[in-house]
């Protein structure tokens, strides 16, 4: 009887060790562009889901590249060389540059612009998609501001940002705006680039580069009493109007997909998802300082108001 009990205990211990070893063997590589609080929120939410599924910090390898093509590519190469079990990419640019490196492991993207879904063809991918309606941002800005020249701040090296700028151009006439593109990838000096635009309002696209210098852009706009509309929120600074997909929701849903892949579900069986929670944040506090009277519809539709 005693020998039998020892055997049971020994087998139980071996099972636990094997299980722990199996979990420990899985590594998850993350590419989070540096200085983009929006991606950090996605990451927080995604890793919370992974931790609940038994994957903790011991399983994570994190790369924080600067917002430029070389850094994104290098970060991808490092993680691919580390032979991670899956690659998690935040935002469109990190995703696109990672896929350019032809990773052999599955890739779970968080917040990929819907128009770039075609970039995932031929790769083992799934994730969460975003597509904020530029038309709505123009509509709300039009109803709240007499601005004519709308400076669209974008990064020529980021596809999603470029597409948003092009969409704004396409829609501009319908809303009575003239679009003035401000391409940060070509700008030597931010203030000079913004000065040269002679814009009387700014639309900040969902670019990692734009987000990383968002406080400086917002400060410039405020100094000239110009309203800003942003497609990505920023922790340290608030545009007058921000319309974005909820990063916690994007991260949590992507986390569930990542966990499923790690547990053995074929990535081809996990469809990418769009249409999650969105936020419309209205900054009445700064609008008042700029003498802007925000439209009733905008205030009524806001999911959060900053006073």
């Amino acid at each position: 009887m005693k020998i039998y009990s020892y055997k049971v205990v020994f087998l139980s211990i071996m099972l636990v060790v094997c299980f722990a070893a199996a979990s420990y063997a899985e590594t998850i590589g993350f590419i989070i562009t540096a200085d983009v609080p929006y991606y950090e929120k996605m990451h927080e939410s995604l890793t919370a889901v992974l931790e609940k599924s038994g994957y903790g910090k011991n399983n994570f390898i994190v790369q924080r590249p600067a917002p430029n093509p070389l850094s994104w590519s290098n970060a991808s190469r490092k993680l691919i060389a580390s032979d991670v079990s899956i690659l998690v990419t935040y935002g469109s640019s990190a995703t696109v540059y990672a896929l350019n490196e032809n990773p052999r492991m599955p890739v779970v993207y968080v917040g990929l612009h819907e128009s770039l879904l075609s970039e995932t063809k031929g790769h083992k991918t799934t994730g969460t998609l975003v597509n904020m309606p530029i038309s709505s941002t123009l509509r709300y800005l039009r109803a709240s501001s007499p601005a004519k020249a709308l400076g669209v701040v974008y990064n020529g090296f980021e596809d999603a940002s470029m597409r948003e700028m092009e969409e704004a151009k396409k829609l501009s006439a319908s809303y009575g705006f003239t679009i003035v593109p401000v391409n940060l990838s070509k700008a030597q000096n931010l203030s000079q680039a913004l000065d040269a635009s002679k814009a009387d309002a700014y639309l900040l696209t969902s670019s990692a580069l734009v987000s990383s210098i968002f406080p400086a852009i917002n400060e410039y706009a405020a100094s000239k009493s110009l309203p800003t509309v942003s497609l990505m929120p920023h922790a340290a600074s608030d545009a007058i109007i921000t319309m974005s997909a909820d990063p916690a929701d994007l991260g949590a849903r992507a986390g569930e997909k990542a966990a499923a892949v790690l547990k053995g579900t074929a990535i081809s069986d996990i469809k990418p998802s769009s249409g999650g929670k969105t936020e419309l944040v209205v900054n009445i506090r700064d609008a008042q300082k700029l003498g802007i009277r925000l439209s009733m519809d905008l205030v009524a539709e806001a999911t959060r108001i900053i006073y």
């Binding site: 597509n131 309606p133 038309s135 709505s136 809303y175 249409g275 519809d297 009524a300």
Partner: protein, 301 residues
């Protein structure tokens, strides 16, 4: 005196006595004329805008009836039935809340508006973004839906009837998420802003928004619409003095022939008013039946 003669005299005396008794009973008091009447508005659009649009009508009715008329907007649809008895003398009901009011409160339908398109009815619209991949009702399962309120005729009851006709018994469970926006214009904005994939709104609200912002028509398609339904039916408590009810009705029916009345109509963006009657509610009675709703037990709050 013979017995029959006595009987005849007794009958005459009894009749005289009965008549005298009746004459002594005081006649029922005529309802006292109030100093002010309160008319409720259900929040079918942005409440600030809605109140602003209705203010000139309140002022006009005050001028014409000699009684102060005040409008009050409720915070949500379901409240109109619950608060009507204690706090209001009348209300502009939509077809479903009007039907509830007819059944549960003692109200008399007075009038309803003639919209800019010349019709005195509205239709429910099921809408989706043109670029959202939803072309027909078959595409809406599992999507994010935006409704107005469980007491809203075209903003909830109509889609309920529509989907029940397709075998869907649990409408809210049919979608991945359901948002109750509280107003019809908010449904349109939620779909425009991609906060919802499909929405249930009302034709006059949608057309009003689209006429002010033509880009809305470029982005939104109407994938289904209801039969015509009555809307914004003014119903007054039947306990209000009959003279006052008649005066209000008369004022509204003649409003378009008065320059001051025309200004109020302009603000409301309608052409005038027509008489309302119980039979106007027959289409909503059918819709309620199609939706499988029992008015006695339906939880509209």
């Amino acid at each position: 005196m013979t017995f029959s003669a006595w009987l005849r005299k007794a009958a005459i005396a009894a009749s005289v006595f009965a008549f005298a008794s009746m004459a002594a009973v005081p006649a029922p008091k005529a309802a006292a004329m109030p100093d002010e009447i309160v008319i409720g508005l259900i929040p079918e659009e942005n409440i600030f805008r809605q109140y602003e649009r209705h203010l000139p009508l309140a002022e006009y009715l005050t001028l014409k009836t000699g009684i102060k008329v005040r409008f009050t907007i409720l915070s949500r649809y379901g409240d109109i039935i619950d608060r009507f008895a204690a706090r209001m003398d009348g209300a502009f009901f939509d077809s479903f809340t009007g039907l509830l009011a007819l059944e549960k409160l003692k109200v008399e339908p007075i009038s309803r508006p003639i919209n800019i398109d010349g019709k005195s009815t509205v239709r429910g619209y099921i809408i989706a973004r043109k670029d959202g991949g939803i072309k027909t009702l078959g595409d809406i399962k599992g999507k994010r839906a935006a409704f107005v309120d469980r007491a809203a005729s075209t903003g909830y009851i109509y889609p309920m009837a529509l989907l029940r006709g397709q075998g869907v018994k649990d409408m809210e469970g049919y979608f991945s998420s359901v948002l109750m926006t509280g107003s019809y214009d908010s449904v349109v904005f939620k779909v425009l802003d991609r906060q919802a994939d499909v929405g249930a709104t009302k034709s006059n609200i949608f057309e009003r928004l689209a006429s002010k912002d033509p880009t809305i028509r470029n982005e939104i398609s109407v994938i289904a619409q209801s039969a015509p339904l009555p809307d914004a039916i003014l119903c007054l408590k039947s306990t209000l003095p009959k003279d006052l009810r008649e005066r209000i009705k008369d004022t509204l029916l003649r409003i378009s022939s008065d320059p001051r009345g025309k200004l109020a109509l302009q603000k409301l963006e309608i052409q005038g008013f027509v008489t309302a009657a119980d039979a106007d509610f027959d289409p909503i009675r059918k819709l309620v039946k199609d939706a499988g709703i029992d008015l006695e037990t339906y939880k509209y709050r």
